[in-house]
Symmetry: C3
Subunit: 243 residues, 3 copies
């Protein structure tokens, strides 16, 4: 299966053209849209989301991940094989969180280049054809190469990495790694943990473990982003002791 993760949004022909390329080159391989509103132009914020999505991937799957502010510049195209799952995309830190959690890592540079490479849409012109061939077992586009690493980045990202349609603000912190009773500070507010929305009074801000395993900041019956003034990339702080 080929899984798509991008920051393209659903407007315009972008996602459709990627599907078209994949279908032409690997008609027998199912292609699924996992998320197309990854943090735009922010591979650092997209990295923990991508890593979490891999929980739903299986060995043999090919994940095409594109958050690529450097498209058209010299950044390298990359293919990684992490615990049997192929990842294809730009070498810009997008894969850092996934790389750290993988046990078995193979890494490659993509050396194939298409006859026609647009300046702005390598997802369609370069990554999709390579993904289609990998899904069919063809690695001829690759040569072994090391990915650029980002050692200063924390394992869990204390930032807002996604704001959903309801105004819930996903953090890059995995809930399972926070102590029971941990509180979070965001936008100058201290937030207590709850199990779900129904446990807190309407209008109250809190955090809970969302369905992707992240600590998510929410307001029962309201928009956390609007109520607290939270935006993509804003800092979040663990408050484990007294305050």
């Amino acid at each position: 299966m080929i899984l798509l993760l991008t920051d393209f949004g659903l407007a315009g022909p972008y996602v459709g053209q990627m599907h078209l390329v994949l279908r032409r080159l690997a008609p027998e391989v199912p292609v699924l849209d996992l998320q197309h509103d990854l943090p735009a132009f922010r591979p650092d914020l997209a990295s923990p989301l991508l890593a979490a999505h891999l929980d739903f991937a299986q060995p043999g799957d090919v994940v095409v991940a594109v958050v690529d502010p450097g498209v058209g510049t010299e950044r390298r195209p990359l293919a990684l094989r992490l615990d049997g799952i192929w990842l294809v995309g730009p070498d810009n830190g997008l894969f850092e969180a996934a790389l750290r959690r993988a046990r078995a890592v193979e890494s490659y540079a993509i050396v194939w280049r298409p006859e026609r490479l647009s300046a702005s849409f390598h997802g369609r012109d370069l990554f999709a054809p390579v993904a289609a061939r990998l899904a069919r077992g063809d690695r001829s586009d690759l040569v072994p190469a090391e990915p650029t690493r980002f050692p200063d980045r924390p394992d869990d990202l204390p930032s807002i990495v996604h704001v959903d349609a309801y105004g819930n603000a996903w953090t890059g912190l995995r809930a399972a790694r926070l102590p029971i009773g941990a509180r979070l500070r965001a936008a100058g507010r201290i937030l207590e943990r709850a199990r779900t929305f129904g446990e807190v009074p309407p209008g109250t801000a809190f955090w809970y473990e969302n369905s992707s395993g992240f600590a998510e900041i929410a307001v029962n019956g309201g928009s956390a982003a609007a109520t607290l003034g939270l935006r993509l990339g804003d800092p979040v702080e663990r408050v484990d002791g007294d305050c």
Copy 2:
């Protein structure tokens, strides 16, 4: 075929993760997105829309319908078989309109529970796996049980149940059940019936039978929602006599 009807919206990974679960468990069954902007958190308003969508379903299809403000609480997960079509979702009135129109009804509680059940995403964790198994003929997740009924609800809902991207306001009233020449009152205005947009002068508000069979309030060349100040859940009144 498996048909998806939810209020998840298209942002985030929600719809994609449901597709992924369905594809893993029933790779041979096509899955189609019918609508993902059902009225958010309003099973009462979504109920007539769901019933209308069933006109396009066939015996053997499995409809996964999720508008579920009570997710994570004690509301029961339900499976209904209405005239040969399976419906899977929460027992919260979402299926009331469909139940009333069905001739042959079988009803079941879903007793299977997944190993990992998130607090907020039963569509992915519970309803999708059950739907995949039903699509393959496996009913082992079910035991016979009666759904909660909502006898006070009218057969045709005199409310705005959907506002589309152009600002057209769908009512929950089926046009075929309104008398020829029926007028509607909404937002304090009396609206005449037309066959389609071209029949009324630009800027004029009217109602017509939309492509799903509902009385829809529209403005030729404009947004009925903006012009009349109509919002989801607002009341609509039949005006059959003089006024």
Copy 3:
């Protein structure tokens, strides 16, 4: 393969119902969404976009294209075969640009009518069933007929034809037909050409050849539509000499 190009947007059940009809009638034919935000109600602006999309189609494909402000009126439903690719949609100028670029043209009126034809959704009720049958080789819905032509329209449309989610403004001018060093005038501003975003300082407006071959007006790190006040249909002018 069946490719969908419409102005329906992704809200509501419209796209889903088209897929459902196609799947029922041609279950073995893949259906791909290429673009659903073509310029709403503007077949003149959608026409060059549609023609560009055909670069990605292949002989045997069926393209269903619906931008149809006259739905429910007397405009004819049309089927064209351009260089082996079927196009199905309304006879309102939407296909003019594609017709001009085609070498081999066959044209037909669609004479089949469904038992139930809604007033507002011929995409589902009429064009989708015909497309499904054409994809299976069945032309029995058609009789030879000439399409309405629009001879006054320029080959390259000097107008904004699409504004994407980032505020980039696509023109209807093909970049390959503009002289090297051509400048564009839009919203009273003269714009220089660049190869891509990274070549100009942040905040600077420019134009470049986008991934569909059009001259696209953009602002590095910003929204061209907001910065320049550009909207769908606004004029764009080639400035080849001094100014």
